[in-house]
Symmetry: C2
Subunit: 106 residues, 2 copies
């Protein structure tokens, strides 16, 4: 099960790199619910390597890799905020009542 998700995520990552036109579409869907992808996206847009981001955050490359791994769920708000700050961004957390239309549609 975890296996399947991993393979899917890996495949998606591959496709994203090969087919840029497909990228746009997937980004909106995937990255909306996947924190890892949000971090990867912002880091790449900032032109940073994992090591460079790690330095900015004050940690190690392997830890950034962990945060960016497809199935990681152990996030702490504190670490998310550290990474977020390093990426010159801000963290928005909303607890949205069921049935409410998501505002993440940009």
């Amino acid at each position: 099960m975890k296996r399947i998700k991993d393979d899917l995520d890996r495949t998606i990552k591959k496709i994203l790199k090969e087919d840029p036109s497909f990228k746009e579409e997937l980004n909106k869907a995937e990255r909306a619910w996947n924190i890892a992808f949000q971090i990867i996206d912002l880091r790449e847009k900032a032109g940073l390597t994992q090591r460079q981001l790690a330095d900015l955050v004050g940690t190690k490359q392997s830890n950034i890799a962990r945060l960016e791994s497809a199935d990681y769920t152990g996030y702490t708000l504190k670490t998310l905020e550290k990474v977020t700050r390093a990426l010159k961004s801000r963290l928005e957390i909303r607890i949205v009542p069921a049935g409410t239309r998501s505002l993440a549609h940009q």
Copy 2:
């Protein structure tokens, strides 16, 4: 410093209970950036006590109280998701590049 924030938060909570008209205004501003207030708001709208929510989540009242305390910063995404589910809501996490207009304006 932490003292001041605590007092302010306490005062705001008091006012919120006494003056319902002021409540609406503050809710939008405060609870937008404060997770604790978001949880309190949803729990109260669901008509639940801390103990009842704790039962739904599968934990104890004191732990819910901790999550709802003004200066708590130790949130884990896993616990936030548990609480969120119990409140029949979903958790939205967005890492927003600086300068981007917030979508939280409802």
